[in-house]
């Protein structure tokens, strides 16, 4: 059931699911399951981001830096709260919705524990940016209520500007730092991709939505283009950091 009134092209998001509210769109159980997956993944991602930023705050070289990271961590927690409340509102148990994504996200964080303050900043910046890009791509295909929520919790917590500023400063002070951090960013990207594949392989409803089955217009070619856009944006961000991607 795709709720399309015509044979819309993928680009046309003004009709179909993207033009419906949650009450209408969620009548399709497969669409509903996909959105619950998405909100659960995003909620646990925010909770994990909270923990990671709080952890990185301990590596901060100054009290100002520490306070800055604590602020971002707290912002991530408030995003988590909104997602959890939304899951409850639509009659889902937040813990059950999050649990399928715990192993992949914990695995990612375990495999990429930063060894110092700069690695932590690069990780938070790269990780948040890729996740944001991905969710923004998905958001345009969602019903109006889910889209508004997803875009709201992706609001920049101020981390990007802070990370760019600190990392560029460190590279200016010692250019060799750039080489080490570029390798680190590549490792992060690789680990993120491998954990994403794990999630997609496990979660039928979610991957069906991503590949055109449920929400509007995602087909395999479009998924490929999406990954290209995300990779290009990553390359640009690395350049902005003064790193070769």
């Amino acid at each position: 059931m795709r709720f399309m009134t015509t044979s819309d092209k993928p680009e046309n998001t003004a009709t179909g699911i993207a033009a419906q509210d949650w009450a209408t769109a969620s009548a399709d159980p497969q669409y509903r399951a996909a959105v619950v997956d998405l909100l659960g993944a995003l909620a646990y991602g925010e909770l994990a981001a909270f923990e990671r930023l709080a952890e990185d705050a301990k590596l901060a070289p100054t009290l100002e830096d520490k306070a800055e990271l604590a602020k971002m961590a707290s912002a991530e927690f408030h995003h988590f709260e909104r997602l959890r409340n939304r899951l409850t509102e639509i009659g889902e148990e937040p813990t059950l919705a999050m649990e399928p994504f715990v192993a992949a996200l914990d695995g990612f964080h375990r495999q990429t524990a930063p060894s110092d303050w700069l690695e932590g900043l690069v990780k938070a910046y790269v990780g948040d940016s890729i996740a944001s890009d991905f969710y923004r791509e998905v958001a345009v295909r969602l019903d109006t209520d889910s889209r508004a929520l997803v875009l709201a919790v992706l609001d920049d917590t101020g981390h990007a500007g802070f990370a760019v500023d600190r990392v560029r400063g460190a590279i200016d002070a010692d250019p060799r730092v750039g080489g080490r951090l570029a390798l680190w960013a590549r490792r992060l990207m690789g680990e993120a991709l491998s954990q994403s594949q794990r999630v997609v392989a496990d979660r039928d409803a979610l991957s069906t939505m991503l590949v055109g089955g449920v929400a509007d217009g995602f087909d395999l070619a479009e998924v490929g283009r999406m990954f290209s856009r995300i990779t290009e944006a990553h390359t640009k961000r690395m350049a902005a950091l003064g790193l070769a991607a």
Copy 2:
């Protein structure tokens, strides 16, 4: 300069500093320095509490428990923000105000790193409660503006009820846990006292205020009574937890 209109007894806090607002009371440089110390200690205490709770969240046995701790950590961060903003408002550099207390608070946390979830809960509960009792005792002696702020940031973050509930549950399930946690609580109290002495020895303005020199009516006998009240409250809390103090 004590701003007393009569030879008030210590109990009479309706006149003197406690009846003045900050603008009036802070004309006395020694009182001002003492309050800056107090706000600095409290601010760094909240930032350290944020870190500790976020760290403990990693030990949480369930996602609900993790989210509960993350919520409290976030509440502590907002308290920190209010204190930092207040320091800025009165023309003080928050970092400089906090720095004298970093070593003692970090030392306390380093010496008392919990080895599991229950030790973390007991530590947060015991530590927050003792700190709250202490700041409440001091608050009644402060000018009206400082008092309102200190009482506001001591507002219960919901941690006490949560910790009592979880710790009692664990002791019910295995009474031997009680013995271990009682020892742990005693160690925490000892370490807290030894770090407090370190701070008091280092900070003249603060300890002069505590011992009657600046704010209204604290004399050595009163400090003794204050410590008795705090210790008694601690004993009662330990009993509520099902632990012998």
